[in-house]
């Protein structure tokens, strides 16, 4: 049997493929299944951009059973569940996804500085995150955010991630690459990293190794893993 940690796109796809190959799986997530794609479904532009993967994931959700539990170590797998601590003597596949690097800046630390990940979630939850927004960094996800935010706010861009922030109760201006931007909100992308707070040891798959916003690569990583390990 294989224990899959995380029921986002990668974990669910992996579970589905393994099941098709007759491998027994148990999938755990400390939240409801769906991971960040579930968040993306709530913003039209994201829903459209990631549509193919969202559909794929939803079909996997209907086929795979996901258990609520927090995996705190692997080898052996130890899961905290509402029923108690469960120890499972099987190998674990870590599909816990990626997380944006913290958007730290020079200057002051006023409210109004977000990573894209936090900004996307807040938008999905129905908050307006600012009026004049500066997007800093380089990635396709920022282009997508620009379209979403551009509907209601003034949006500016800079490629630089070395930024100085001014402001006390709220961001007032941001200096990047010698240029000053007047804005109340900064969305700063410093890249993504594996989300593995318990430092679980096991095979990493999906966005846990791809570490990005490009789900074609995420999909490929899962498929490659399956083909390598379970080629028929």
């Amino acid at each position: 049997m294989v224990v899959i940690v995380g029921a986002g796109y990668s974990g669910l796809l992996c579970a589905k493929r393994l099941k098709e190959r007759g491998v027994k799986v148990r999938v755990f997530d400390f939240r409801e299944p769906g991971g960040e794609l579930l968040v993306f479904t709530k913003i039209p532009e994201f829903r459209e951009h990631y549509g193919k993967f969202i559909d794929e994931m939803n079909s996997a959700i209907s086929e795979v059973e996901v258990e609520r539990g927090c995996v705190v170590s692997a080898n052996p797998v130890k899961v905290l569940t509402p029923m108690g601590i469960e120890i499972i003597n099987d190998s674990a596949v870590i599909a816990a996804g990626a997380v944006d690097c913290n958007p730290w800046t020079y200057g002051k630390r006023p409210p109004g500085v977000f990573s894209p990940e936090t900004a996307i979630k807040l938008i999905a939850y129905g908050y307006s995150i600012g009026r004049r927004i500066l997007l800093a960094g380089e990635d396709k996800v920022l282009d997508l955010l620009e379209t979403v935010l551009g509907r209601k706010c003034e949006v500016e861009r800079t490629k630089s991630t070395e930024v100085y922030v001014e402001g006390d109760k709220r961001v007032q201006s941001v200096e990047a690459d010698g240029e000053e931007f007047k804005c109340d909100t900064l969305i700063l992308f410093r890249g993504r990293k594996t989300f593995n707070p318990k430092n679980l040891q096991g095979e990493l798959i999906g966005n846990a190794i791809v570490k990005g916003y490009d789900y074609s690569s995420v999909k490929k990583s899962v498929e490659d893993y399956i083909n390598l390990k379970y080629s028929r």
Partner: protein
């Protein structure tokens, strides 16, 4: 009429409030911010220092005493405190030769210290550079979460009858002979005795009753790295010549084990200037990385705080009858807080006949062990996986303190990565945005 009004709920004011709550006194705390400890206290390094040089200073004596009291305080109030120990490293032959003298000197003042051979040192801290000569281990150094420590003192005080008013800046004081009237936007408050714990603004409070003093802000910047376990002790270098104004910072760790490098000391003009310069970050890394084989992975935050410096020592006095200054509480004020509170209790006893309360209410302690997490999972959920903080714990703190910043600092939720920040904001947005006070919730 209150017996005592405390201005400022940093660690100093909060520990005084906690101590006074054990007696039959009517005590009031007025704090400008929406929660305790959000100014100097929040921005400190969280180190429970083993000592402060030179030993003749008041702050040195209170540091030693506070350090000794800390286990009992942590137990009574229920905050996290670990004596992780401090390693001070000899980087060159001169400081290496000084080790026996250092140990003797510390022991003379009651500080336990032992010599570490290079081999032992590298066993204790494998990331330390091969180039060191040896070191001294001082086991009494510890780490806390400063805002949690402060908030727990406030919770204890509140449970035992102290009244707290947040979002309440004192803008004027009238001396009416047998009592004072404190002016705020939330109305006037009367008290027989006033204790000034306003941190960096304590000089302005003192001025309101006609006492002149000057507090100079001394900025200290820190870097937080993601690499938990990079070192397991606080690591500093033995200075060739001690600096009178600062202990010089170090490759420290937070109470959660993340590397915390700094602080430096930069004089700044303004009491609001907590901005971090790139040169400072580069300077801190350049200063401490030679102690190690490599630098820790990934910066996740940088922050600066302002020390309230009034000369070389704390200023704890009663310049005007019934007006007590607890000012200039620079480093190691966090460490000294329990001892300062005891000292102030003594001063207060001149004005009141102190009667200890028959019984005290103790705060309930949340357990973080795995069994208790499991049993909470059926009706609760984990929000922050990095620090294992549940929804219920977050909402409990949010009930008491209506500030995102306070919830983050006290529970430590969202202090490692970006995964749950939006979820915490949503949880709080739904509950506290509606009745928030004038200050904007720190969405950062």
């Amino acid at each position: 009429m209150n017996d005592i009004a405390i201005i400022g709920a940093g660690v100093t004011g909060s520990f005084i409030a906690k101590e006074l709550s054990k007696y039959d006194l009517k005590v009031l705390v007025l704090e400008r911010k929406l929660a305790p400890g959000l100014e100097q206290t929040k921005a400190c390094s969280g180190i429970i220092h083993p000592f402060q040089l030179p030993f003749k200073l008041l702050r040195s004596r209170l540091c030693l005493e506070g350090n000794r009291m800390m286990d009992a305080e942590a137990e009574e109030l229920g905050f996290q405190f670990k004596r992780v120990g401090l390693i001070t490293v000899a980087k060159n032959p001169i400081t290496f030769l000084a080790i026996p003298l250092i140990i003797l000197y510390l022991r003379m003042h009651g500080v336990r210290a032992e010599a570490l051979s290079k081999k032992k040192l590298l066993e204790m801290e494998p990331n330390i550079s091969e180039k060191v000569y040896g070191g001294v281990f001082i086991p009494s150094a510890g780490v806390v979460n400063p805002v949690e420590m402060t908030a727990k003192a406030c919770m204890f005080a509140k449970l035992n009858g102290v009244e707290f008013v947040y979002g309440c800046e004192v803008v004027g004081i009238e001396n009416r002979g047998d009592h004072f009237v404190l002016k705020t936007k939330k109305g006037d408050f009367k008290a027989k005795v006033v204790i000034n714990c306003a941190g960096i603004y304590a000089d302005e409070i003192a001025k309101m009753v006609g006492y002149e003093m000057k507090i100079i802000p001394g900025k200290g910047t820190h870097i937080v790295f993601a690499d938990r376990g990079f070192t397991n002790h606080l690591v500093v270098a033995i200075p060739l010549k001690p600096n009178k104004r600062t202990k010089g910072g170090g490759a420290l760790i937070g109470f959660d084990g993340k590397p915390l490098w700094g602080p430096n000391l930069v004089d700044v003009e303004s009491k609001e200037d907590t901005s971090v310069k790139r040169e400072e970050i580069e300077g801190i890394i350049a200063k401490f990385s030679p102690l190690f084989r490599k630098t820790p992975k990934e910066i996740i935050a940088v922050y600066a705080g302002l020390r309230s410096i009034a000369g070389s020592d704390f200023v704890i006095n009663e310049p005007i009858e019934r007006f007590i200054n607890v000012a200039g509480i620079q480093s190691p004020g966090l460490t000294a807080a329990p001892a300062i509170a005891k000292m102030v209790l003594e001063m207060v006893s001149r004005h009141f006949e102190l009667r200890r309360k028959q019984s005290l209410v103790r705060p309930v302690r949340a357990s973080k062990n795995e069994e208790s997490i499991c049993s909470s999972l059926s009706e609760d959920e984990i929000v922050c996986l990095c620090n294992m903080v549940t929804k219920k714990q977050i909402l409990e703190v949010a009930e008491q303190f209506k500030s995102f910043d306070a919830v983050k600092q006290i529970t430590w939720a969202g202090m490692d990565c970006e995964k749950c920040k939006a979820d915490i904001m949503k949880l709080l947005g739904d509950r506290i945005l509606k009745d928030r006070e004038e200050e904007e919730i720190a969405w950062s």
